[in-house]
């Protein structure tokens, strides 16, 4: 450590979820001195909450004989409403099996079939059973394995360090500044490369399945530093979140045979997707549920039922024990005996920091992987079982790329300079006299959910954008009363709100720009897809005045031409 709390590493990975840990392990194994900087202990990362599974065309299931990476790629690209970059999808699907075997060899306990092979279950938008799983705790099991492996390698962890700024000069990233949450002290990190793996921006929304920590930190850090964001308007709404708390009820439940039922007792998905029914892709099922509720066919005007009883007690206990526990703990009902009240809720951020297939952003030395990045393998709608896979495949790629380019650190004096600037900025925060951070956070979430939700239109969204802009102004004068150093969570929440407001604005601007419907982005004023004008990525960069400037990037096709999405 070079005095003044500046730490030197070849690579810092911000975020200790699946993508971050996989990246850190890869870099470490290539000889890079690697540190993970995370605002929570790694096992508390949101990856731990992933339930249903991870896709690979292993062909283990009798129903998936002859499955191939090409079929997986086709399902992924069709599911993405043809907005995914097809060379990236090819990498994802070709490397899927090896990535899962690797974790299996490192100790992950997966569910098995009767021959002892990895069991595979059907998932939405997939032609055959292709989703490997660990009951309904797949993310938990994978994250524990990676944490065990990373810990045993002696990778340095800075747990409960909150990153406030990146060090970027001449479009080159050479460090970051973080608050040690425990002491309140600022620390600098001088690096050759930095990987952001901070998860999605789900918590800009009300009604989200995401952990409370998913506050767009990495997106905002990158964006403020001049990196490009991509396809931010694409936000996935999961069809089945528990009514009330919006805790996720895995697609695996429908994969195993659960039905969606409206207030007249009808299995309504038969109307919307006659072939796939409950296993249509998430965008379609989420819209169908919302339409049923809006037609007055929901319960209490708020939810429908997910009926797991067709599975029977044995299957529920073996394959969905966590879901049963969630229903017991958070809805006080037993899905073996009663249907579960569910409603759609924000679930996943398809958009993110624009990266190439090796995780590099538009800033030299700055990479991103996992949900915070947009490669893009998910396009306009992600298929279930592809996010854990993306984290493993592209986390590994980013880890390798970050440490293998003969990269150099920058001068420590630059890190020191940014650290001093941050010190001053943070000290001056404690002077506002306006609203409190919690009030503004609630208003933002309500606005983003109601104006940029499942059904969108110009008028609603313009109002929403105005509200977000006003919230950004009010944020400048937010009251922050507590000045303590140790575990000052008010300060962290204030900083998180700053990140979220910037990213909420990015979502709003992109959503207004895309004057068509595609995947998760459904506009009632433009209900059809418009390939002529919008089969392209929307790119945002902050301009001189820190306002979002729009540009476009072509979708990289190559495997499959655009076809009607029928399910």
């Amino acid at each position: 450590m070079a005095g003044n709390n500046i730490h030197e590493h070849d690579l810092v990975v911000v975020g200790g979820g699946l993508a971050g840990l996989r990246a850190a392990i890869e870099a470490h194994d290539h000889g890079a001195s690697t540190a993970v900087v995370s605002k929570v202990y790694p096992l508390r990362s949101h990856s731990v909450a992933a339930q249903g599974g991870i896709n690979a065309a292993l062909g283990n299931d009798p129903g998936s004989k002859g499955d191939s990476w090409e079929k997986h790629a086709f399902d992924t690209i069709k599911g993405s409403a043809y907005l995914a970059d097809q060379d990236a999808v090819e990498i994802l699907c070709k490397e899927a099996a090896a990535s899962i075997y690797e974790l299996e060899h490192w100790g992950t306990v997966f569910s098995r079939d009767s021959e002892g092979k990895l069991a595979q279950r059907p998932f939405g938008g997939a032609g055959v059973p292709r989703t490997c799983y660990a009951a309904d705790r797949t993310g938990h099991n994978l994250l524990n394995t990676l944490f065990e492996q990373a810990y045993a390698r002696g990778i340095k962890f800075y747990n409960e360090y909150f990153v406030t700024s990146l060090v970027v000069n001449d479009n080159k990233c050479t460090g970051s500044i973080a608050i040690d949450i425990q002491t309140g002290k600022l620390h600098g990190f001088s690096v050759k490369a930095l990987i952001l793996s901070t998860g999605g921006y789900g918590r800009i929304y009300e009604r989200s399945t995401n952990s409370l920590i998913n506050t767009a930190d990495g997106h905002a850090l990158a964006y403020r530093s001049g990196a490009a964001l991509k396809d931010m308007e694409f936000v996935q709404f999961h069809p089945t979140t528990l009514y009330g708390s919006n805790i996720l009820i895995t697609e695996g439940a429908r994969g195993e045979g659960a039905h969606l039922i409206n207030s007249e007792g009808d299995r309504f998905m038969i109307k919307y997707a006659p072939e796939a029914k409950e296993l249509a892709p998430r965008d379609i099922v989420a819209r169908s549920i919302t339409q049923e509720i809006e037609k007055g066919l929901g319960y209490a005007g708020e939810y429908v039922y997910l009926d797991l009883r067709p599975l029977g007690a044995e299957k529920i206990n073996e394959r969905l024990p966590g879901i049963r526990q969630i229903a017991l703990d958070f809805a006080n009902l037993d899905p073996i005996e009663e249907p579960v009240p569910v409603q759609p809720g924000q679930h996943y951020s398809m958009g993110g920091i624009a990266v190439n297939n090796e995780g590099e952003t538009s800033i030299e030395g700055l990479l991103a992987a996992g949900e915070c990045a947009s490669v893009s393998v998910h396009g306009a709608n992600r298929l279930g079982g592809n996010s854990l896979l993306e984290a493993l495949v592209f986390g590994k790629k980013a880890g390798k790329k970050a440490c293998c380019n003969n990269r150099q650190t920058g001068p420590l004096s630059i890190v020191k300079k940014v650290m001093d600037r941050e010190q001053e900025r943070l000290e001056n925060l404690f002077s506002g006299e306006g609203d409190n951070w919690a009030t503004l956070t609630k208003e933002m979430r309500k606005t983003v959910y109601s104006k940029f939700g499942i059904f969108r239109d110009k008028e609603k969204m313009e109002k929403g954008l105005k509200t977000i802009e006003r919230l950004k102004d009010r944020y400048q004068n937010t009251a922050l009363k507590y000045k303590g150093k140790t575990y000052n969570q008010a300060l962290l929440k204030y900083l998180e709100l700053g990140y979220m407001l910037e990213i909420a604005e990015a979502v709003a601007v992109s959503a207004l720009e895309r004057r068509e419907s595609r995947g998760s982005h459904y506009r009632t004023d433009y209900p059809d897809s418009d390939d002529d004008n919008f089969l392209k990525h929307i790119i945002l960069k902050a301009d001189q005045k820190n306002r979002p400037a729009i540009s476009y990037a072509p979708v990289r096709m190559g495997l499959f031409p655009v076809k009607e999405r029928e399910y």
Binding site: G107, V109, G116, H140, S211, S245, I326, A490
Partner: protein, 245 residues
């Protein structure tokens, strides 16, 4: 309702008057206080769905996850919960006393230092050592074996069992229930080439042999992990080996 919260490692307490609703969890109540009454309050959280292990605290002496405990059920829990630990403060009349879990240093309010707990990942080498030459595809593992392994892999590292174990803290260097259960899980794993060696790591007076089978660990586990059973089985395995020598 009066919610009394430990500040300064139990040196002082603060009382907050909170209007509680039917569906409010203890974690919701903490957010309500932090957002509306006292922003200096510190407590841990992440998933709010009982899977991340962040929010272990003591409620009226009961070690619990704040996120899955409805405030309205506290009185009922007072009658049915099996494990009560010594409190430092007084439970307010018709109210609720929140304290940090014991046996880990308090950092602030309800936040404890997890380092001694996570240090064990290194000390006991809590990972699959694995064989040098894994198969080309997956290892074949019987369903029944997976069922047995899952009992232990379900651990969310919340440290509730650590805080509730009478031996932890009483005996220096005792790794505690969660770490021993995790170590046993690697012994059980058919992919482990030298499984018995894993048991040997904790074959000491302060290891497997220190447990007194209070079974508090299993009783407080939000995921129903049974460290007591792992410890019992490890002991009989070690004893068998000794007898055979």
């Amino acid at each position: 309702m009066i919610i009394r919260i430990s500040r300064d490692a139990g040196e002082s307490y603060a009382d907050y008057n909170v209007q509680v609703s039917e569906e409010m969890t203890v974690l919701d109540a903490l957010f309500h206080i932090q957002e509306n009454i006292d922003e200096s309050l510190a407590f841990r959280y992440s998933c709010r769905g009982a899977v991340c292990g962040s929010c272990a605290i003591m409620v009226n002496g009961m070690p619990l996850l704040a996120c899955k405990t409805p405030v309205a059920r506290i009185e009922e829990l007072n009658n049915v919960y099996e494990v009560f630990l010594p409190r430092k403060g007084e439970v307010p009349k018709d109210g609720m006393l929140l304290e940090p879990i014991p046996k880990l240093p308090v950092m602030k309010d309800l936040v404890v230092d997890w380092e001694p707990f996570f240090d064990l990942f290194g000390k006991l080498e809590l990972k699959l050592r694995g064989a040098g030459n894994p198969p080309e595809k997956e290892y074949l593992i019987a369903k029944e074996k997976v069922r047995e392994l899952e009992k232990y892999t379900n651990c969310i590292s919340c440290a509730l069992c650590w805080s509730a174990c009478p031996v932890v803290g009483d005996l220096k260097d005792y790794p505690g229930p969660a770490a021993l259960a995790k170590l046993y899980r690697f012994y059980l794993d058919p992919r482990e080439p030298d499984a018995l060696n894993r048991l040997a790591i904790a074959n000491q007076e302060f290891g497997w042999w220190a447990c007194d089978f209070y079974t508090n660990c299993k009783k407080v586990c939000p995921k129903k992990v049974p460290p007591n059973i792992a410890i019992g089985k490890a002991r009989s395995q070690l004893k068998n080996m000794e007898d055979n020598q």
